[in-house]
């Protein structure tokens, strides 16, 4: 197991390096000159060539590309992503807290998605083809076809405005979590519970179930075996879900004014604050790889076959 983890981690290192390079190079694809953006956002009244050159030198833009990349990469390792073009604050002082807020939202949502999907998936698989199964699947079908922001707006309107039970936005108490978590859960649980359901159903057709029954094992024990095998799929899927949710809370965060990465990134895009965008992309890509690695490791721990394969 130790060997597997080491190998898996080693594989992800070149990927991280490559991604950091792509992220860095990205910004240079922009049609806008960063120096110009900085001057614009600082409200400099008249932008002269001279001023641009000066700013470029300040930003270290006059140096060769690779030197700049290396310098940037090293400082990124120390969580120094430079300063915001707009307000001059260090990027990490803005990004760090936002990341934690988004992470909190993601984790709470992930747990809620896991619980709901397992319950629904198991119920539907055990009652496959019956009314319960059909109605749950039908309902989830419509819920996944709904734009999350629309659902969110409807919920704000009903629960926060009409009934006045919950806060409309912000992140003040546990109550602030209820609406965003519900919206994210509805958006994703519909997909995940179907994965659990079909994984249960395909496991039910496996020979080991037949053999277990042929040996006279009680249904309860057989169901436990089916669950054990289906949940393996579930675990790896959920681990993958965490980075996906982490990256896709953008819409929900903006609607509920959640002080997280999604809100920050949209704000930065609208104000063209490149260092923040760059850091945002890098941090999330690394988080994405990290979580995928963790999910692979968990998967290997649960499924001895995978472990031997690598």
């Amino acid at each position: 197991m130790g060997r597997y983890i080491t190998k898996r981690l080693l594989i992800s290192i070149p990927l991280v390096l490559l991604i950091s390079f792509v992220t860095f190079a990205f910004i240079h694809l922009s049609p806008l000159d960063p120096a110009e953006v900085v001057l614009h956002s600082q409200g400099v009244p008249k932008i002269t060539e001279e001023l641009i050159e000066q700013t470029k030198a300040e930003l270290g833009m006059d140096q060769p590309f690779l030197t700049r990349y290396l310098r940037w990469a090293v400082s990124c390792l120390q969580l120094d992503f430079g300063k915001s073009y707009v307000n001059g604050k260090p990027v990490w002082s803005l990004l760090g807290p936002a990341f934690i807020n988004t992470f909190k939202l993601t984790m709470v949502s992930a747990v809620s998605i896991v619980v709901l999907s397992i319950v629904l998936g198991v119920v539907c698989a055990l009652k496959a083809g019956k009314m319960v199964d059909k109605s749950i699947r039908g309902a989830s079908f419509f819920l996944t076809s709904m734009p999350s922001y629309w659902l969110a707006a409807l919920m704000i309107w009903y629960f926060a405005v009409k009934l006045d039970w919950l806060p409309t936005s912000g992140m003040d108490s546990y109550k602030s979590y209820l609406l965003p978590v519900t919206v994210i859960t509805i958006n994703y649980a519909g997909i995940y519970f179907r994965i659990i359901r079909s994984s249960m159903l395909s496991n039910m057709n496996e020979d080991y179930v037949l053999y277990g029954r042929a040996c006279g094992l009680p249904e309860k024990k057989i169901t436990m075996h089916i669950l054990r095998n289906s949940l393996q799929v579930a675990v790896s899927v959920f681990c993958m879900a965490i980075p996906i949710i982490l990256g896709s809370t953008v819409v929900v965060e903006n609607i509920f004014a959640w002080p997280g990465l999604g809100t920050l990134s949209v704000k930065s895009i609208l104000s063209r604050d490149f260092p923040i965008i760059q850091a945002y992309v890098l941090v999330l890509a690394v988080a994405f790889i990290l979580f995928n690695t963790i999910s692979d490791i968990i998967n290997a721990a649960m499924n001895p076959k995978v472990r031997n394969d690598l």
């Binding site: 490559l18 409807l154 395909s202 996906i244 896709s248 999330l284 994405f288």
Partner: protein, 297 residues
């Protein structure tokens, strides 16, 4: 053809198909169908309820909601479809090359895909918009850039499986050219797979792209687009919540129709899944496709 009949035998699928067809036609011929100019401001009719002249009422600038919805079909559905087709085409070409020639070509192309796929979809889209600036074309571009890798991955697997089949080996043995084998033996069998994959991510793409417009990163006012309409409605959400209904329901209906059709298509095109016994199992692949679709935005 039999399979298409199979799809149409399902009444809900037939209904879905007709909804999509009608919407598409309405979108293409919007200027002839829409009762009013979608950008015509008429402050006297601000927030007017539905009337015979304005069937769905008017928005905060007194513009005709119905006309805006009809014009909104173009960016929200037709352009998204175009972006989908483009990325599927790129993905298919790459997937074909990788799956058919294997070896170094495959290894290289798949590493490129790995890198593309290691960015979470939304993040990548935001990055592209961040660099190129706010705008609908940039969102579409971001989607094409993002999605192709994912399509390539799946199509490669499908092509690989066919490239190893006996009749392809036979054709190779009798000296048929690569191009000929691809055109006559692999494309016809891989096409259904591609159709299933593409159709099952169409729905989530519509949702996501309208989501970006909703955030104000896509289409800019005064153009009509469903996400944009919802964004405008949000500002008056507390006083006029009914403005959210029409565009929201439109999206729900269209996306449901597309998703339902995609599911039916999957079942119909995969002969193994034709028997009722296995019908439920067929959803696994589509739902995973959707999951990935969400992930890779």
């Amino acid at each position: 053809m039999n399979r298409l009949k199979y799809v149409l035998k399902d009444k809900v699928a037939a209904l879905s198909l007709s909804i999509i067809a009608v919407t598409t036609v309405a979108g293409v011929f919007a200027p002839f169908i829409a009762p009013h100019d979608p950008e015509e401001v008429n402050m006297e009719l601000q927030f007017a309820a539905s009337s015979w002249e304005y069937l769905l009422g008017n928005d905060h600038l007194g513009r005709c909601m119905l006309s805006r919805l009809i014009y909104g079909i173009r960016p929200s559905m037709l352009w998204v479809f175009a972006a989908l087709v483009l990325s599927v085409t790129i993905g298919s070409i790459v997937g074909f090359l990788a799956g058919y020639f294997r070896g170094k070509t495959d290894a290289f192309l798949m590493r490129v895909c790995d890198v593309m796929l290691s960015f979470p979809g939304y993040v990548m889209t935001l990055a592209v918009i961040g660099i190129l600036g706010v705008g609908f074309e940039n969102i579409l571009l971001a989607f094409v850039l993002m999605k192709w890798a994912w399509f390539a991955r799946i199509i490669r697997t499908s092509v690989m499986q066919y490239a190893e089949s006996e009749y392809v080996k036979f054709s190779k043995a009798i000296g048929a050219s690569h191009l000929k084998i691809m055109i006559s033996h692999i494309i016809p069998v891989a096409l259904p797979d591609i159709a299933v994959i593409a159709s099952s991510s169409f729905g989530s793409m519509i949702l996501q792209i309208s989501g970006f417009s909703f955030l104000g990163l896509g289409i800019q006012a005064p153009q009509a687009e469903w996400g944009m309409m919802l964004n405008e409605a949000r500002e008056v959400m507390f006083s006029r919540p009914e403005l959210m209904l029409a565009p929201g329901l439109t999206i729900v209906i269209i996306v449901s129709a597309i998703n339902y059709l995609a599911d039916t298509l999957q079942v119909a095109l995969d002969p193994q899944l034709m028997t009722s016994k296995n019908k439920q199992l067929g959803f696994e692949t589509t739902s995973i496709a959707k999951l990935e679709g969400k992930g890779v935005a």
